[in-house]
Amino acid sequence: MIINVARKELKSMFASPMGWVILSLLMFAFGTYYLNGVNDYFAVMSGAMRPAERTGVTQFVGQMVYGFASFMVLFAVPLLSMRLISEERRSQTLPFLFSAPISLTEIVVGKFLGLVAFLGILVVFIGAMLCTLNIWADIDFGFILANSIGLLLMVASFSALGLYFSSLTQQPVVAAILTFVALFALMFLDRFFAGDPSNTLASLSLTRHFQSFSGGLIDTADIAYFGLFILTFLTLTVRRLDADRLRG
C-alpha cells in the first residue's frame, strides 16, 4: 500500500513540467560543476609538486560536486515538497486518500518515499556521472558510495521536514518558504557556534553530519541522526493529519 501511494506521488510529479524542469536544471548544474572540477584538477595538480599536496581525482572532483549538490538541494527540495500535502488540502483531494483503505502512516510514508525516490534519481545520476571518471583514471568507488548515501540521507531529511511544513498549510508557497527557512537555519546552525564546536546545538546542524560522509566515512552516529530526524518529522506529519480527522 505504501508503494501505491509512492507510485501515485511519482506519477503526479512527472505529470507536471515542474518535476522534469527541476531534474534537468539540477543535472545541468551538476554536470557543469563536474566538468569544471575535472579542468581545475589539472590546473591545480600541475602546480602541486610535492606528494603531500596531491589529492586523488575522485576526492577532488567528488567533493566539489557533492558539496555543491548538498547546497543545491536546499533550494530544490522545498520546491518539490511544498505540493505534497498543501496542494491536496487546497484542491480538497485529501478525502480520496482518507477514505481509501490505507492508514495515515501509510499515506505519509508513501508520500515521503515518492519524493525520496524522485530525488534518488538525482543521486544515482550524480554517482553515475562521477563513475565515468573511471574511463581514464582509477577511481575510489567507496568514496562515491559514501557520498551518495550521505546525500540521499540528507535529501530524505529535507523531504521529511518539507512534508511536515506542507501539512501545516493550504498554500504551497508558504510551505516552500517555511521549509527553506527551516532548512537554511539547520544547515548553517554550526556556523553560529564556530567558536565552540562542542556545543550541543551545533551538533543539531545537518551540515555537520554530512561532513563525515563527504570525507568518505560512513558513521553510524550520523546515520542514526538522519534516521531520527526523518522519523521525527514523519511522526509529526501523521499527527497533524490525524488532527484533521479529529478536529475537522
Binding site: M1, R7, A15, F96, F98, P101, R245
Partner: protein, 316 residues
Amino acid sequence: MNNFTVEAIELTRLYGGREAVSNVSFTLSKGQVLGFLGPNGAGKSTTMKMLTGNLAPSNGSVKICGIDMMENPKEAKALIGYLPEMRPLYKELTVDEYLTIAARLHRVSSGNIKKAVEIAKERCGLGHMSKRLIENLSNGYQQRVGIAQAIIHNPMVVILDEPTVGLDPIQIRDIRALIREVGAERSVIISTHILPEVEMVCDHVQIIDKGKLVFNGAIDVLKKQRIGNKLLITMHNPPSAEAMLKIAGVTEVELLPAGQMRVRFADGAAPAEAIVLAAVQNNWGLHQIAPDQTSLEDVFVQLTYQEQAVAEASIS
C-alpha cells in the same frame, strides 16, 4: 447476525461546542438506496464524512457490515466507495491514470485493475474520455469520473454527496439509473437538494435539519403524506358544504373562491365517483376534479420547520 450494511449509532459531532450533528442513528440494509435530505448546513456532509471515516465523531460509532470504523478503519473503509461534495480529482492525470490509482488504492488485485477500470468507465459513460486529462473535461464529465472512482472496487456501500450537481438532464437520468442499478445489489446513500430525485431513486428517506434527524422512513410514508386523502374540485354552480358532506366518505369540505372546493375523505374511501354522479344529477356544472397533492417541497418545509415552530412556541 444482522445484515445491516451501515449502522450509525448516536452519531454526534461538535464543532467548538456547537452540535453540527447530534444523536443521528440509522441503519441501512443491502439493496436499499437511502436519500439524505436537508437544507444547507443541516449536517448532511458532516454525517457522510463521519460514515466514511474522514471525520471522527465526537460521540457514537459507525459500523460498516458489522465492522467498526473506529477500531478497524482499514477493513471498514475497504467496503466503502465515497464521492465527497468537492470532487477529489487529480486534475493533472488522465482519466485512465486516475482510475487506475483509485483501483490500486482500494485494493483491487493487480490482475483485475484493467478490467475494473474498463467496467467503471463503461458504467459511467466515460469510455471515449480515457486519454483525456481530467482538467480538460467538462464539469459533468468530471462528476462522472468522481462517481467512477467511488464504484471502481465494487464496494458494499456507496456514499455519494450530491452526485447530480452540475449535470445536464440526460446525464442526471443516466446517473440515477446507475444509482438504482448499484442500489439493487449494494447499499447506496446519496444526499441531495433535489426533492423529486429522492422520490425517483430512493427507497428510504432521511430528512436532517440542524443536525437532528427529523424524518426517517420509507419513501412510501413520505409519498402518502404528500398525496393525502384530498380532492380538488371546480364547479360552475358549487353546492353548499352540507350537500357535499352527505356524499359517502367525505369528511371535510373547504370552500375556496372561484367555485373551487377542497374535499377530504376518509382512509380507504374513494368518493370521486359518487361526487361526479351527484354533480351530474344536481347540475353542479363540474368541470374539474383531481387529487390534491401537496408538493414534496411543502412536506419538506413542513418537516424542517415543525421543530422550529415548536421551539419558538415554547420560548414565547
